[in-house]
Subunit: 485 residues, 2 copies
Amino acid sequence: MAVEEEQPEKGFVKEIRKQSQDFPGWYNDVVRKAELADYSAVRGCMVIRPYGFALWENIRNALDALIKKTGHENWYFPMLIPLSFLQKEAEHVEGFAPEFALVTRGGGKELEEPLVLRPTSETLLATTLRDYVQSYRDLPVLTNQWNNVFRWELRTRLFLRTMEFLWQEGHTFHETSEEAEKEVYTMLECYRQIAEEWCAIPVIPGRKSEIEKFAGAQYSTAIEALMKDGKALQAATSHYFGENFTRAYDLTFTGRNNEKQYPHSTSWGMSTRIVGALIMVHGDESGIQMPPMVAPIQVVIVPIFRSEAERSQIAAALAPVLEDLSEIRLKQDWRDQRPGFKFSEWELKGVPVRIEVGPRDLARNEVTVVRRYDRAKEAIGLRDLGVRIPAMLKQIQDAMFARAMEFRTTNTVRLDSLPAMVEHFQRGSGFVLTPWCGSAEDELKVKELTGATTRVIPTGSVAPAAACAVCGKPAATEVIWAKAY
Amino acid sequence: MAVEEEQPEKGFVKEIRKQSQDFPGWYNDVVRKAELADYSAVRGCMVIRPYGFALWENIRNALDALIKKTGHENWYFPMLIPLSFLQKEAEHVEGFAPEFALVTRGGGKELEEPLVLRPTSETLLATTLRDYVQSYRDLPVLTNQWNNVFRWELRTRLFLRTMEFLWQEGHTFHETSEEAEKEVYTMLECYRQIAEEWCAIPVIPGRKSEIEKFAGAQYSTAIEALMKDGKALQAATSHYFGENFTRAYDLTFTGRNNEKQYPHSTSWGMSTRIVGALIMVHGDESGIQMPPMVAPIQVVIVPIFRSEAERSQIAAALAPVLEDLSEIRLKQDWRDQRPGFKFSEWELKGVPVRIEVGPRDLARNEVTVVRRYDRAKEAIGLRDLGVRIPAMLKQIQDAMFARAMEFRTTNTVRLDSLPAMVEHFQRGSGFVLTPWCGSAEDELKVKELTGATTRVIPTGSVAPAAACAVCGKPAATEVIWAKAY
């Protein structure tokens, strides 16, 4: 947990704090002023406003399509889980119990057994599927669900950590460990695609250490992204449970050998947290920057007019353009406000492309097109917009990813000793790559001295022929260290 | 509440009870055996299985598009509502309090104030929007959200009444009552479209009586459908609150006259209950019948083969057909099971069109096509499927609606006296249309004598020049009576 976390602030945001001076303050201000989300009257819970929800819907729809394409089906499981269910897997309950929210009264009566608002649904899935799984022919069961989950958090931050959040949780059950482990990485790859190809967020997929793994998992994997303040954010996770949950919940099947066996299970999730990552990777002093692929509004048209006659002239000239751009998520801003006010607002909200059109532009059959990501301005002929705008959106998407990747590259260093790590994290942050023996003691020592933790052992990285940067024993892997959200 | 309601039954459904003999038993069996939903290990809560959830997704996506087209935006509001919020509107809290589920512990501590799992979000919306609404320029606010809600129910039935259910709830806030009342009927019309045009369920839109209205509303409207057992089901509701909630929650705006005013608000919702309605309107002794527009699977292909050679031959012949039908939600059933077993299963699941294809069909370059709704069989040339199947699905959709409409017409009678009503409801059910003076006493009397309640005063019905069927006073309206879910 980071120290500079803030308590909810309410009221009107007048000015956005400087990203360069107060990153958490800047984050809080842009999220609220760009009308993505806000604190609510309910402690620890946020209201997701339409502009933020539309962004989440775009990410969700892309991920839902990938989840279905990879053979999973959406279910809906109950939100209330009897406390006793959660208590059967020891590591799991230990991990989550401090964050339980409990329903103890219903219909005017005290309940015999408290019900927990689901923090995650492994326990309920393993219990429920006992009714549906008998033989190896019933496997695999590949489930997903989109829902709300609850973790009692004392310090909250919009999108990054709230008591209630939205996510999808996938749970799958397989005949063999090979199949289950393959599933873990199939879903990690889906998350990589959503992060990189849709949200333009470069991520490092890899395996978590024993300390950082999910409570109850045999191992966890994740995709890790680097925020503009140099801190890491885990953007999604995918876990391998082996038989841990199926044994604890007595979910069995009759195998090909006619003997009782336990399915091998996985779970994986991506939450509204990805919205926070997107803001902290792409935002700048002027506000948010939306990657075109997921932007709620891809293009905003700001007409500039002084009279009703000019207004009509612009509207008439735009009519065929709107038809040419019918596939684009486009907004026209005809509000009775100064153009400068509108420009700032759409910059704050991070709309990738702004089209300014006034009488002088029309006299030349042109409009002025401004790209949010580099503020480049150019005049484009009215008839060319249908071709040029989609190409420009694609180009912006790629450029945003490239810029974020460059930032990450610049902010990743290889180090080979503990003193170097301590020195590094004293003056800065970012990703630090070191050889590592794999011991938990090393992790605890580094955390104590620097505040950094292991993020992932990158997928595909090979054991370096070097000494562990922390303790000097032979390295077993490479690992990424960072201060993290 | 109906008397024949059932307590959850678990375990494997062997045989489906007869619709004609035990309608509730039949309903329960088809829902479970067709794998739409099931009781869960959590009392009162259901698991929606993939086939049921896909149906709900299709309905939801159609409704979501209509909600957006009519100018509403999706938000997400917290699920936990402080108890004190709910207590500010007297009628509302009285209506919902007996069904509250309360969180009293969180993070290992007793809470100072219990949190209610939202039964509906009027109170939270009115509170939250105080931060966003200052002037008439900020109105209207047109919100929608898709979420889960909770009502502590003692007797549950899958989809129809469960402790947790999924729905959308829209909440809107307007400058004038005219605008708000128009909104109420705009949304009722959206619901009518979803019910009639997508789910093939004929509905009667209209206004609820004072007794039947929503707790806290000035008036409620609803669409009412008639189930095959002659009972009515309210398929969606749309409410006008006037200033009730905005006054109670002190949500104000500065009007055009520069004075403080209260917005006029509405709310409207459709839930997973519509799935129950669809089953009870279209199902028969063989199982469910899915209207093609919302069917998770529109066409199932059952290949009939005895050898690997025949199997390959069929697969090859089908390849171009699958391309022709790429816009159709289609499933191929290559499982190693007898064709008869597969036919029954797809009939149970209500897939609108089944294509049987074996070597004999292929010898004639044909397939056998069977319509679920009337079991009509016909041979269709392989090359014609791309044109014939979409047309057939459209025809089935229309025919299902027409059949349901005919059922409703046959089961609607006009009566003009209380004895006639009593006699009618002794032997039967269905919709009874009568002149009515509008008094609540009449409603209570009829309910006591017959079990029937007023469903709606149909939109557009005119006051008949007749005496109230119940008390003989001059009639103010026509009204529909029925026993109801």
